[in-house]
Amino acid sequence: MKSRIIHMACVVAALGMMLLPSACSSTEEGLDREYSNTPRGNFMALWEIMDERYCYFDLKKEVLGVDWNEVKLRYSASISGDMSNRSLFEVLCKMIGELRDGHVNLSSAYDFGRNWSWKTDYPANYSKDLQDKYLGLDYVICGNSSSYRILDDNIGYMVVKSFESSISNGSLNAMFNHMALCNGLIIDIRNNGGGNQNAGDRLASRFTEESVTWGYSCYKNGPGHNDFSKLHANVIEPAWTNLRWIKPVVLLVNRGCYSTANDFAVCMKSLANVTLMGDTTGGGGGLPMSSELPNGWVVRFSSSPSYDADINHVEFGVAPDIRLDMKESDMAAGLDTYIEEARRYINDMIVNP
């Protein structure tokens, strides 16, 4: 009799265990919100993803006057159940465009929604034709997106078009060997839209002889607008085992310098032998993350803010040490004002160190 009871208990226990999967799957739906794949559901998903995860609401309110709750009310009126996907995409792009952040994008099969006013609202201060003219035809290609040559007055000129990929240490050593007798170096990062932070760090580490704290970073650690982790110091360490450049460096920047290029400019500005010349950079201080709407559109947003060494936001760019604008007269004469001023500055430093 006793063994029969035990047997029955075991059968009941075994069958009970078979019900566990359905118990777990019901919690899947019950524990958290689920958005519907409707215009309203997608609108709410986008608004709430941004509300909980975007990192610059307070800054954008202070500088641009953006009130995210007011934005919701205003754009919610444009959402209807029978609107087309294209119309929905347009409304959603306009809504996130209020933040004027190059790292905030909505990606769909139709288009890549963006607000590039950080660049398009300002003078370009850049001419690719003139840049190519200074590089000539016998320039050296260094990595996937960099090139350099020595200008006639014995000043090195390096163009870094992107930080998407790092320049290898071997290529950098070869470049510094090639320019060993130069009086100075001009690094032109105009219109560099960013890329990999490591690529910028690797290049910057060649221009310092000591560890320098050039900024700070943190990340969102909760859904509140002010939920941030502690600040982490961004320190650039000298590339001890490789060649380093201790002569004058001029970094040419414009509004097209964004994201990693912006961070690179912040970092280089804190180094003793580096001078920033040109226009304020485009900004893009927030490390971006992505999420997804119920209809499959991917939203990208700034999630981890960065600051300079004095804990000022760099989302709106970093000001140069020497402000410059391209002159029409120079351009008409085939001269790049930025490069010419940088050459003059380095040559003056040689005469008056």
Partner: protein
């Protein structure tokens, strides 16, 4: 759940092939379907797994994903000395892979998960019709989700390491004049360490600032419900013992402020083997 159980035509084809493979097994009768290993003996069961997986991980996406899953699992029962309290050992290891799609079919996520559970078991009930084993267990599970649309945070890790409980219940019965066994096993971590980023902490930050401690969380069933459950039928078939089963693996938590519900349902098919354990100390 309905999505999770939905099988594609391709999946059905693979199942038919696996069933046909059973006829290649030797044609010799076996009297007993299942018995626990004696001292220095091992009983092992290896199975291929085919089923479905689902994942909703708000660190990567607000959308839920589901898809077909494939894998392999191995279970080994070991007989220890009869004078021990824990007379049996049991290990379970599995590896599975799943390519998943979101509800609108416009995005894809890949999942790869491996797990290893090892338990010391005490025979709570040991009768001719029932073997109920209970005991402590060490469990390790680690997986990764890779969302192919996300540009800046494409992947995240999920997993845990901890101590828990293993319940292994085998019922013996006769059907169609053959001895058969029905097994149900539950592994559940009760305390340990779970892996999840601290809300929107980028993995880049974890690497750059050595901030690993923020990504590790103390877990209990109250903040991280994780379990692995197997039910299986062991039947003698043409001289071999075939193990047909269903395995469910689930992790649901809100560690680090993000919600995740990741699971898989598998139909498994394999065979059971019994062999003597080699004692190298002799």
């Amino acid at each position: 759940m309905t999505d999770s159980f939905r099988c594609s035509d391709r999946l059905s084809g693979v199942l038919v092939i696996l069933l046909l493979m059973l006829f290649t097994l030797p044609a010799k009768a076996e009297r007993e379907a299942w018995s626990l290993p004696l001292y220095q003996e091992r009983v092992s069961a290896g199975s291929v797994m085919i089923g479905s997986a689902f994942a909703r991980e708000t660190y990567l996406s607000e959308s839920g994903y589901s898809g077909t899953a494939f894998g392999f699992e191995a279970d080994i029962w070991t007989g220890y000395s009869p004078d021990r309290l824990f007379k049996y050992g049991r290990t379970h290891s599995s590896l599975h892979f799943s390519p998943m799609k979101n509800r609108v079919g416009g995005g894809s996520t890949l999942e790869l998960t491996g797990s290893f559970h090892t338990s010391m078991l005490w025979p709570a009930v040991n009768t001719p019709v029932c073997d109920l084993l209970l005991g402590p267990s060490f469990m390790f599970e680690l997986g990764a989700l890779y969302n192919r649309q996300n540009s800046n945070n494409p992947a995240t890790a999920e997993g845990y390491m901890g101590a828990g409980l293993c319940v292994d219940n085998t019922l013996h019965f006769r059907l169609f004049r053959k001895d058969m066994a029905f097994q149900a096993t539950l592994h559940m971590p009760l305390a340990g360490v779970g892996v999840a980023p601290d809300y929107d902490q980028p993995y880049w930050y974890i690497y750059r600032y050595d901030e690993y401690e923020k990504a590790l969380h103390f877990i209990t069933p109250f903040n991280d419900l994780a379990l692995m459950q197997q039910v299986a039928l062991v039947v003698p078939f043409r001289g071999a013992r075939v193990r047909l089963g269903y395995t469910f693996d689930y992790t649901g938590n809100r560690l680090g402020g993000h919600y995740r519900s990741i699971g898989s349902n598998f139909f498994t098919i394999g065979c059971v083997m019994r062999y003597q354990k080699k004692d190298w100390s002799r």
